[in-house]
Subunit: 199 residues, 2 copies
DNA sequence: CTTACGATGTATGCAGCGTTCACATTAAGG
DNA sequence: CCTTAATGTGAACGCTGCATACATCGTAAG
């Protein structure tokens, strides 16, 4: 099944479309991600992808979901289970670096109106949300997990987007990393004050 | 000049296109923002807008720039020159509310690859950047203004985006406002620790 | 072995989009 | 009044997403 001769049936068009979409995304940005271009790259007729994706949005959602999974892996690789502020900052740096290394993908993941139709996409996003929550819970058992998770995720996410939009200095990766570390440390020098936050 | 009969020359097509674009954005989201739709709404031929905007991106940039100016005014209206954490939190709440009230516009402003070609757009963004810096400088004279500005803007910006993408609870405006206030206060209970941040 | 069937890919066609170009109309100034 | 530059029009090109009807193939029952 996985072996495709290449005559009429492709073999695994679904995966091939995803691959092609990722490539187009990196090459031409999200503007170049068209179903027809994907089909061309996969060496298949323009309408063939519709057998595997209901419409363009479905393909985009699949790409986004894959991006979420990769992001989770990327963060986990930065540090499996951070507890100290330094370790947490390392994960934050990884988050921003992920965004800057795959800007188009990151935009597809977050900057587009996310329809709650795609189960795959929703699952992937809640997974990363849980991941952040888990980290905060482990690192700051006394704090209001919910509020603190929101705060730290928002901070890191905002840093990623502002860098992506050129609103902050992105001259070198080191500069970026320092900005992120500074911001995260600013947050966690006052964990004791948080537990009183509203639910 | 401003009075247009309506015969052949429109009178102020440039402004009319902007208005139409804003309306389409609110009605159909950014997907519905097409040059042809703008032209139709302005009661003009499909190619007429090209006399005033080089291409679609130029129109979008103009819309974004207008959004930036409105955002600045919106924040200033929340509090002219905040100094206490509470006042600053009020501005932050306004920022997020702006995003949630005009989601499509906010996405156009930030979620799209911002080409540095549009002078108007760059000017508007640096203006708001300076605005944030000014607030931080006034509220926390002893801190590292640059780092702290980055941190607070990123936090608020991230909150806005996560809310926009449905990653946080947006059931009621009050819930949102509380989340924002909590996050901002978490930041500013530890201002004394910040001055040692790198430049 | 044959045959029918479901899954997969193709061909065609429609409407909408951004953009270009040649042309029409008009307001403004010498 | 007549020229000129600015502004709006119309047709046309290639691209897009998408729906529909058709072709091809693996497979499994008879």
């Amino acid at each position: 099944m996985s072996q495709a001769g290449g005559t009429y049936h492709h073999g695994d068009l679904r995966a091939a479309c995803l691959r092609a979409a990722r490539e187009l995304l990196e090459e031409d940005g999200s503007a170049g991600l068209s179903l027809r271009a994907v089909a061309r790259r996969a060496g298949v007729s323009a309408t063939a992808p519709y057998r595997h994706y209901a419409d363009r949005d479905a393909l985009v959602s699949a790409v986004a979901a894959q991006g979420y999974r990769e992001l989770a892996a990327y963060l986990a690789a930065a540090h499996p289970s951070p507890t100290t502020p330094d370790e947490l900052a390392a994960v934050a740096v990884a988050y921003v670096r992920f965004a800057l290394e795959r800007p188009a993908l990151f935009r597809v993941m977050f900057a587009e109106p996310c329809d709650p139709n795609s189960e795959e996409r929703v699952a992937a996003t809640t997974a990363i949300s849980e991941y952040v929550r888990g980290i905060v819970r482990g690192a700051f058992p006394g704090a209001d997990t919910e509020a603190l998770s929101t705060t730290v995720w928002a901070l890191v996410h905002g840093l990623a987007f502002l860098h992506l939009d050129g609103k902050l200095d992105t001259s070198t990766p080191d500069v970026v990393a320092d900005q992120v570390r500074t911001a995260v440390h600013a947050l966690f020098t006052a964990p004791a004050a948080l537990p009183r936050a509203r639910a």
